[in-house]
Symmetry: C2
Subunit: 210 residues, 2 copies
Amino acid sequence: MGVPVARATTPRKEPLGTRQRILRAALRLFRQRGYHGVGINEILAIAKAPKGSLYHHFPGGKDQIATEVLEMISERVVEMIQAEAGPTTAEVMRGIGARLWQWMQSTAASGGDGACAVIAALAAEGDTAPPVALAARRAYERIAAALAQRLERQGLAPRAARERALLAIATLEGGGLVSQTMGEPSLFLAAVERAASLCEVASTRKGKPS
Amino acid sequence: MGVPVARATTPRKEPLGTRQRILRAALRLFRQRGYHGVGINEILAIAKAPKGSLYHHFPGGKDQIATEVLEMISERVVEMIQAEAGPTTAEVMRGIGARLWQWMQSTAASGGDGACAVIAALAAEGDTAPPVALAARRAYERIAAALAQRLERQGLAPRAARERALLAIATLEGGGLVSQTMGEPSLFLAAVERAASLCEVASTRKGKPS
DNA sequence: AAGGGACTAGACAGACCGGTCTAGCGCGAT
DNA sequence: ATCGCGCTAGACCGGTCTGTCTAGTCCCTT
């Protein structure tokens, strides 16, 4: 639906082009201030691109940028999930948490921000921009599916697997958010541990999924 | 710092006045779309008040409104925590969760929104509005303190109590957010249960807090 | 060498933003 | 009755927002 033009996966040349620079800048800014909190001029300034380029690559404007950012990072996380070789899903979770942690730290050092909950930042205010909210939902859906798949492989029923996956995501998002707001990075690590324990499947039955 | 005027707790008359209407409208809108996603004109339209009234009651403008909204709801939650009579903190947590759940449901029915993570919505983009971010932080701080107080009363060490309290808050916030984004209300209930289990203190020692 | 299309470049437009200002209403005190 | 003040009312202002438009550059193809 929508977005009639562009969206080149292998456009033609682009060694490391404008399009990517814009997406990266947008990712960073959206994470810091959410959808309505950033203007395209600001994105442009960071990406060092003129307006013409932006609307050439993203004829759908700000919405399209946000949507693609969401797709980009959800894809990245899904890859992490599938790539992590750890035996148990809990281990995988810890691995992802560690990588997100590094990511937060590095961007905090270079840019001055420090959250990871990009999707959250965009999802929280989708009410005025429905396509963005929808994209956020799809992003969660994809990540949850990848996580649930692993959980099922360990013998969990589909419904339970999905619920745990979503709960784990929620834990991470909430942890990242509160951790940033409070200025206590260690809190995020605690949340990661918490999410990981949620992915523990054997031994201690966890009961009441409803 | 700031806000030199007004802030009347018992102004003079006000049977159920403009000031409250503005705060309520702002609360609802901020919850739906975050700080930057809401314009004061919109708040005014819902509150059915003219601009003059707004700047009479809130000379600090939008920032002040957001700040007071944050204070209002954090106070409300703290009261809930202290009022809940349940013996264990876990029970208290469940009680709060249930009340937040009702609140979400009712506002969803009347207004069409459906999140509870107001603080999250405001905290997420405080970068451009530092006083708002600070207020969000204070709000979390107050709630966490109230929660931690109960946990300590059950024998937990201060540090551990605080960490668990913040983690519980994060779980609730994340749960509310993902639940709303995914359009699955039941997810919030699962998150509540998860937060409650985090407040279980005796019996099963939970290990590694760092 | 010449032509054409992808992309860059930024001036511009219209809408809307938060915030200020002056005017006036209504009620309680005197 | 009239005065004063808390509050309402909304026109207005400069600035910023997203998005459009025309020109121009650069490279790739032929």
